[in-house]
């Protein structure tokens, strides 16, 4: 083995990291090369020096200090999964609450929609009926069966024909003279129709006992160009239909 090649391997040789063949070859070379032998001796001396005195002595309290820190860490790690579980539980509870709230909201919403739809449906149906009845009354020879401007004539006429006593009053002084009354058929039932006149306009006011009996403020619709007012008062449902303008129709409604 050449000296230059051997020199590169001397460190690994001292460390015992060479292959068996290399180790053997370097041993042979060192035996014959004084310079390489000196280097090996230097390396060995340095190694021994570092090995025997190089280590920094560990401070006495370090092991205890580290063990105390480990104990704290272990306690913290044990507490952590518990917190995790608690958080999970809390999250599950929160999710459950949200799901429950959502479900409840869905049910409530469905009920409201259903009732609104059915109510609207029934109301729309009645509205169509009253408007049709109004138009029908205009098409006939006379919109009335009992012609009288006297409420005391009209009101008894209804008795026995329908199952309640409609509110019949004359508003001639206010510009809404009572024309008369008739029986009509609205929303699958016989209803009373009281007819008023405003100039050349006719106003049909349909009335029958309110289903729930609840008071209800005036609702306004416009159907086929007719103004329709709808309200409940004192257990009676009123539908007023006319081609009269809204303001004057409201004026009549206000008096009833």
């Amino acid at each position: 083995m050449h000296c230059e090649h051997a020199r590169d391997l001397l460190g690994a040789y001292v460390d015992g990291e060479l292959t068996h063949n290399e180790q053997h070859a370097v041993t042979e070379h060192v035996a014959t090369c004084a310079e390489c032998r000196a280097t090996v001796e230097d390396l060995q001396r340095m190694s021994q020096q570092l090995r025997t005195t190089g280590r920094e002595a560990m401070p006495a309290g370090l092991a205890l200090r580290v063990r105390a820190a480990l104990a704290r860490e272990a306690a913290a790690m044990e507490a952590l999964p518990a917190q995790g579980v608690a958080a999970m539980r809390w999250r599950q509870t929160a999710v459950f609450k949200q799901v429950a709230a959502l479900a409840a909201a869905c049910v409530v919403s469905s009920l409201i929609t259903w009732s609104a739809l059915t109510w609207t449906d029934a109301t729309a149906h009645v509205e169509q009926d009253v408007v049709s009845a109004h138009i029908r009354s205009l098409l006939q020879d006379s919109p009335i069966q009992v012609a009288s401007s006297d409420s005391h004539t009209v009101k008894p006429w209804f008795a026995g024909r329908i199952d309640f006593a409609p509110d019949v009053r004359d508003f001639a002084a206010q510009g809404f003279p009572l024309v008369g009354g008739r029986i009509d058929y609205v929303g699958d039932r016989r209803v009373g129709a009281v007819v008023y006149k405003r100039n050349l306009h006719l106003v049909n006011v349909f009335m029958w006992p309110a289903a729930g009996g609840a008071e209800m403020g005036v609702q306004r619709q416009v159907t086929k160009g007719y103004n329709v007012l709808h309200w409940n008062k004192a257990g009676v449902t009123y539908w007023a239909v006319s081609d009269l303008n809204l303001e004057e129709l409201r004026q009549l409604q206000g008096m009833m």
């Binding site: 590169d8 460190g11 690994a12 460390d15 990291e17 000196a38 001796e41 230097d42 390396l43 001396r45 340095m46 190694s47 020096q49 570092l50 090995r51 005195t53 190089g54 280590r55 920094e56 560990m58 401070p59 370090l62 092991a63 205890l64 200090r65 580290v66 063990r67 105390a68 820190a69 480990l70 104990a71 860490e73 272990a74 790690m77």
Partner: protein, 186 residues
Amino acid sequence: MAAPSSFERATLPHMEAAYNLAFWLMRNRADAEDVVQDAYIRAFRAHASLKGADIRPWLLAIVRNVAYRALARRGRNSNVVSFGEAFPGRGGEGAGELNVAADTPSAETLLIGAGDRTLVMAALAQLPAAFREIVVLREMEGLAYREIADVTGIPIGTVMSRLSRARADLKIILTRLIEKDESNAL
């Protein structure tokens, strides 16, 4: 204190090696203690992932990582060139290579110096950290090249070349220190 846990039984025997590596990287006892404690906590958190592997190189690798982070932090905080601290007396690996041939000390000179522990330690302290750690792991802890490669995460060939150069440089630094020591004595 409670009986040692299985983790403690496995790692406490290596605490001297851990502290020694930490000390030689930090070159400061207090910092080395902090590094060891931090490293053991990290090892404890991660030891479940260590299945059957040799615990000593693994533990020393953690110590080394913690120490390098601490050194980087120290360098930032002091706002001083940490380079000079980590690589004293040279511009880093491969730069400003010392002239080994011209400076090779005689065996006699080394013999004089070898008796003085403080001189050898001072010489080692002057080596760049990347070389110093390999000397520490090889010479003091007796790790094989393969184990050093595992701890440092550098290829085994690099371990070999760095160790070779570290030894040569150590010799040169030691010679200079001895010469300075002698001239001071005169």
